[in-house]
Symmetry: C2
Subunit: 313 residues, 2 copies
């Protein structure tokens, strides 16, 4: 068994999905949990995602071999400050945060150098727009990439164990610096989310439009943006404020390109539009070829159906 | 039976899905088809979506009671010019175009006033990013809205028949002016698509980034935009150029809001971000409550599975 006791701090979508992976693959004897949302915590215990629910992060983390921070990154500092004093020597902290420079700084500043506590920063690049322990599912991570950005508090042994855990979740593992991680994620995740939040706000606020019509006909495109813009507000506030420089630069770049496109439309430059749209269609094909196209929500439906079918038989 | 002969001009995603609906519900004795892409046309015949394939739109439309234009709207003018002379008196043209003012103008200018040809403009608000006859499926339209914008060449009888056809596809019907249609669609469909094309272009072009990394980690948000930006380039060029005024105005509005958001991030105004993201999350809930949330691609998977299951039994 990889661990005796694993503590999951934050039993939402990611935390509860990971707990399911740990349970399913017998990676730990006991899974403890904490969440500052009491409903989430009760539900996670009730549906058996965790064995024991605690009223504090320190309670859940005491005596754990592995503590997984799966809360919004803005809470990492306070949680780390609370748990390091109760954690045993040699125990490992890992996290699932989408900004790694800030996450590492917040956690590492609370690790006393003589404590023997090990920190392996991680980011499983998977998710849905849904929140809470019931939104989680075993197959969430399958076929996706998990990025590890080990820093000064990581050891090869601990990194290997965290890596093994994510491999049990059927993830592929990459290792890079936190700086590189944040730069890439700004482009593939943070900017797209920001744009989705922004456009949903713009469209919902348009005067002279009936809100009901916007909702009614949303299947024509708007719907897909509301999905992304339905993601957890706290989590995204924390991400955007803590990868600020790169994101601000990318917004600038995006606006430049959009204005160019606006000009193409104004001047009837159909060829320029066609050229861009053909290029983006090719990029879509590359995403499909890399097997990154299937939405996690689809994976969930298929997984549930296949479980039902195997129960039938 | 609603029609004797229906001609489908353009046997791609929408045309071939509608043909499946007509076949499944016995709405016509014969379905003829034409497509300027010979591969699509052969495939549609081969998989039995149409009964007869023609080498010209006029060939397919001759003697039809109903001609459905399901090509990119930019082709409507030329096709209408070609088919009106062979169409029989009292026959009906309908279309599925996403811009209704332009579509109607292009078609109506070719209808001789003494011809007795009836035109019922329509827009089934449903679709996926996929193209071609094999991408179509029977359930594509289920639960979505079909907007009719009958103009001077429509009759109540023909409008009722076209309406009955879309109801057989399990669509709900709305009627409005082309102007209102185009205004609403600019907000819920055209702007979102344009933004998706734009951001996929921006991210793919970023220098200092490895393309491979962008694709690899695309499941973190970018992936969803590539899906929308994988839609047919010709179709979208035609839409954006032919609903220009409203779209240009909305781009302006969107950029304003985005710049405000950029400023919130720069000045660490987390509360403003949280407030917006909470609001967009609420809008997502409204989309779910209106049952417009399920992606058509998910509907396709479920429909196929349920067909397989019923074959098993």
């Amino acid at each position: 068994m990889l661990f005796d006791k694993v503590a999951i701090i934050g039993v939402g979508l990611i935390g509860s999905s990971l707990a399911r992976v740990i349970r399913h693959n017998h990676l730990a004897k006991v899974i403890t949990g904490f969440d500052n949302n009491p409903e989430y915590l009760c539900k996670a215990k009730e549906i058996g995602v965790i064995d024991e629910a605690f009223e504090s992060a320190a309670g859940a983390a005491a005596d754990a071999d592995l503590v997984v921070l799966a809360t919004p990154v803005g809470a990492y500092g306070a949680i780390s400050a609370e748990i390091v004093s109760v954690m045993k020597k040699g125990a490992v902290i890992t996290d699932v945060g989408s900004v790694k420079k800030y996450a590492a700084a917040e956690i590492e500043k609370h690790i006393p150098s003589e404590s023997g506590i090990v920190y392996v920063p991680g980011h499983p690049v998977a998710g849905t727009e849904k929140s809470g322990p019931e939104a989680g599912f075993l197959e969430l991570f399958e076929g996706r990439w998990c990025i590890l950005t080990p820093g000064k508090f990581a050891t090869p042994e601990a990194t290997a164990k965290v890596s093994a855990m994510w491999q049990a979740a059927k993830m592929k593992i990459d290792t890079m610096t936190p700086e590189h991680h944040d730069k890439v994620m700004a482009a593939v995740s943070h900017l797209p989310h920001l744009i989705a939040f922004s456009i949903v706000g713009t469209v919902a606020d348009l005067e002279g439009y009936e809100k009901q019509e916007i909702i009614k006909y949303s299947a024509s495109g708007f719907r897909d943006f509301t999905r992304i813009a339905g993601s957890d507000p706290t989590m995204w506030r924390d991400i955007l404020l803590n990868n600020k420089e790169t994101i601000l630069e990318l917004i600038q770049r995006f606006v430049e390109d959009l204005i160019a496109l606006q000009r193409n439309i104004r001047w009837d430059e159909g060829d320029r539009l066609f050229e861009l749209f053909s290029r983006t269609q090719k990029i879509r094909k590359e995403v499909i070829e890399a097997k990154q196209d299937q939405p996690e929500t689809e994976k969930k439906i298929l997984a549930e159906l296949s479980r039902e079918n195997s129960l039938d038989k």
